[in-house]
């Protein structure tokens, strides 16, 4: 028990250490590399910070919308009256998942015009599925006997949902949310194609102008950000996992 818990924490510590080490390596590399004026210009600390903030804004706003949308819908879809829609909706969503993210983002730009909002909506569409699916799976995998036990001792359906089903579904739901967040970080890099901001611009600029340093910095920062978000997600999962399961 205690041992497995420590093992899990150890993994988390390693992951964070790895991320920090990679970040430090990047910083040291940037400080020691010979940079052209253009590179210096693009990689100025406040510019970098600005891109990162934009990237996080995109990611987090989309995440909030996704959570606000997917969790209630996921819950509703597991309630008896709507249960029969579960299959079709998941099937539809699964097909949707195969849609390439770039394509979705670009299509939204057609519809909503360029910029932040098109990017946000694209991200939301892209990340809704994992959260929705995990919410449903999480609720479905709750041992029906526990639901029955709850009902059997006189809890109302709502009480059972909030006191039994949701707490027990939390681990699965959180892992869906983590997956979604990580997807969001990665996909937000594509926002640059439609002037949505974020760190993706470093990658496109790096490629377009053959500025390897910029390209690598952009790519590594996006990857590290994804790993960091993943790490945060894992920590939350770890802390929020109800004791006893």
């Amino acid at each position: 028990m205690a041992r497995t818990r420590w093992l899990a924490w150890r993994g988390l510590v390693f992951q964070l250490a790895g991320i920090l080490a990679a970040f430090l390596a990047l910083v040291v590399w940037l400080l020691t590399a010979k940079l052209t004026p253009t590179e210096l210009n693009t990689l100025a600390p406040d510019a970098l910070w600005g891109y990162t903030v934009e990237h996080l804004q995109l990611t987090l706003l989309a995440a909030v919308i996704v959570l606000a949308l997917a969790i209630p819908v996921g819950i509703l879809l597991t309630r008896r009256p709507l249960r029969r829609f579960t299959g079709p909706i998941l099937a539809l969503a699964n097909v949707g998942q195969a849609a390439p993210a770039v394509g979705v983002v670009v299509l939204l730009a057609f519809w909503l015009g360029f910029g932040f909002w098109a990017a946000t909506v694209g991200l939301v569409l892209y990340a809704v599925l994992p959260v929705l699916r995990n919410t449903m799976v999480g609720l479905q995998q709750v041992d029906p006997r526990l639901v029955e036990a709850g009902r059997g001792m006189g809890m109302s359906a709502t009480a059972v949902l909030f006191k039994v089903e949701l707490p027990l579904a939390v681990p699965v739901m959180l892992s869906g949310i983590r997956t979604a967040l990580v997807l969001l970080v990665g996909t937000a890099a594509l926002a640059t194609f439609i002037n949505g901001g974020g760190l993706g611009i470093l990658i496109t600029t790096g490629v377009n102008l053959n500025l390897t340093v910029v390209l690598v910095t952009g790519a590594v920062l996006v990857a590290l950000l994804a790993l960091l978000i993943d790490w945060v997600g894992r920590v939350v999962e770890h802390v929020a996992r109800p004791k006893g399961i």
Partner: protein, 309 residues
Amino acid sequence: GCGLQPATAFVPALGPGSITPVSGVDGAELTVTSKNYTEQLILGKIAVLAASAAGFTVNDLSNVPGSQPARELILSGQADLLWEYTGTAWLTYMGQTTAIPDQQEQWQAVYDIDINNGLTWGAPAPMNNTYALGVRSEAVAELGGITTMSELAALPVEDRTFCVEAEFNSRPDGLNPMLEHYGLTRGAADGVPDENVGIYDTGAIYSATDSGACNFGEVFTTDGRIDALDLSVLEDDLGFFPAYNVAPVFFTETLTQYPELMDVFAQISPSLTNEVLRSLNRKVDVDGEEPAYVAFEWMKSEGFITDPA
């Protein structure tokens, strides 16, 4: 390997026209590259078709994102052929600061430098695809009937909004030096603050400008959408931009092996006038045709190639 080819590698099948198979080629491989905007795609396809007609097995590496990567490919010999602009080479690659007004001299200047870089410039075309700032016509009046770039400085700061591509945003012949040239400072509160500059994909600038996402879009003068979207072009009244005549650039080693290539492209270059390019670009950008077909039709109509037997 394994039958996989780059994304935009498709070209229609063709038969020889005035370009005929070069003896001794026998399906030797030739890699053509191009940048990733319409004119370059069409030119790239023209090169691919021409080389195919000349008997080469063409590896189509067109649609490379950005001038620098394309230049890199040909410098390193990964590609054998690229349509390049004299002004771009002169200012961006060769680091020169002042352009040469005479177009032929400009060509000669870049030829002389690049010959030492293992590249050989072929005959230039008459067309000149320079940068310009486009304004949606409806907005001209709001902006005080602006017609020249020197009037930019007179506009209130919040009206000095620009849509540019990543490349233009940081080129030596791009946005910042241009603004400087017209007395504005990029990033300064009383010049052009950063938030006034939106970065778009090269081809996306036109509709962004037209939809009012910014007042001034960085446009290419041979682009068909300037007319189609009714954009007004500001005059480069202080002469910032050089001449950008396009010419085929060969990897010299390849050219030495197949000197006939030079003649093949010498046939084509003279036909590439501003009008021709504008109409070809228009077919793609406005009429929605595919660069490969547009190039094919044009080559056919010029008699360079024919339909397949």
